[in-house]
């Protein structure tokens, strides 16, 4: 579950005030709005990368408002994927599980599982340099999911992809949500791309949030 209650965020350029919304367990909600509306700012606050000045954030039944990013049990996919330049795809997938103290067989099993689900089997020993846009996004999604987070936070994961790569990424996400659903907040300013995937759609406009679909 994601529950945001009366959150206010002040950045250098704008403010978001009294934002409240909720995403149910294993549901996928879309957060839309024009460029510069504050979608990424709000998402970064959920990640713990930006402080909130008021309100509370609950992720998976835990109040995480004052917790560090590492304690929030989230999977975060930033807009630019932000892969680790010196790590292979396999190392990306092992990163979270290793930090959480999983043993070797558990890590190997998880890597195999995600590589199969997101079609990364042939890329496991590659470095990010030279991967296509779609491959980079799939690696970023797999990396975010590897540690079995309670919540998945996606920041425009389809931006910059060509049509085929967008469709491929969406198909993999749909397949993943069918087999092992994760509570997801998907930030996008091209809502039409998501089709029927979101269970709810929230729109951020002029610092206010309104429900467009539930």
């Amino acid at each position: 579950m994601i529950k945001v209650s009366g959150v206010s965020i002040h950045s250098e350029v704008f403010s978001l005030g009294n934002i409240s919304f909720e995403v149910g367990d294993f549901c996928c909600a879309a957060l839309t709005g024009k460029s510069g509306a504050g979608k990424t700012t709000l998402l970064e606050s959920l990640c713990g990368l930006r402080r909130v000045s008021k309100g509370s954030i609950t992720l998976g039944n835990r109040d995480v408002t004052f917790l560090a990013p590492r304690e929030r049990r989230i999977g975060y996919v930033p807009q630019d994927a932000a892969l680790f330049p010196a790590s292979t795809v396999r190392a990306h997938l092992e990163f979270g599980p290793r930090l959480h103290g999983w043993n070797r067989p558990e890590i190997d099993l998880r890597v195999e599982e995600l590589a199969a689900l997101l079609q990364l089997e042939n890329l496991l020993e590659r470095l990010p340099f030279g991967l296509s846009g779609g491959e980079r996004k799939r690696v970023a999604i797999a990396r975010a999911l590897a540690g079995k987070p309670e919540v998945l936070l996606l920041d425009e994961p389809l931006t910059g992809l060509d049509r085929d790569a967008r469709e491929e990424t969406l198909a993999r996400f749909t397949q993943m949500q069918g087999s092992a659903p994760v509570t997801t907040l998907w930030v996008t300013h091209h809502l039409e791309e998501l089709g029927e995937i979101p269970d709810a759609v929230w729109e951020l406009e002029k610092g206010k949030l309104r429900l467009r679909k539930s």
Partner: protein, 259 residues
Amino acid sequence: MGLGWIFLLLIIGLVTANIYYVASEVPWGDRGLDLLSPELVRATALTLVTSTVSALLSTLIAVPTSYGLSRFSGRVSRLLETIFDIPILLPPLVVGFCLLLLFNHLPFAGKSIDAWLGVPVTYSVAAIILAQVTICTSLAIRSMKASFAALDPRAEQVAQTLGAKPVEAFWKVALPSVKQGVFGAASVSWARAVGEFGPILVFAGAFRGKTEVLSTSIYIEMGAGQLENAALVSLLQMTLAISVLITVSVLSSAGKDRF
């Protein structure tokens, strides 16, 4: 670009002049063995040891410092950057002179630093290293800061959302991503340390068999009118510097191919 060609000719001229002088004026045979004199062997060994220690220390200091500078902006950060640049902007002799004053004339708990330490640093091997580190660390910080600044901090933020502490994000994500930069900074520091002269002459002295390094050897040999020996030492230093530059260049292109 025309002036660039003239500068290129000047550099080639410098190297050629040294090689030509050694080839034409140094009497090879018995006197050529002067190159293997115990003093020169010791000066070469001391140069290599002190430069390596200094390059390692400079890199160790520069990596976390430059990382901090690249991740924090603001007045304090800018002020610190300016302060860290001071040793490379000052004339090298001034750096050596200030080190001399710091260790001998600045009272520390009623004594000079040298007296307080109990072991005199001035005119010792430690003074050579300290003089080299003072200059090389500034250089390494500049070099490393550019590497860290080019690295998107978002990757470290993602690492933290995956469960990494900030220090783990630095070790596991940021540092491996700039390893070419670390190697480059260490190499440049080493090359600079090998060639450092002014601060070493003033702070460590140029005592034959004690604090003599290759750069001060040239000074000693020239002072004694032994231009042939000075030319040989100069050529040796040139070879070391060019070898480092070629190694860094080759490894950097290998790194670019990889990332």
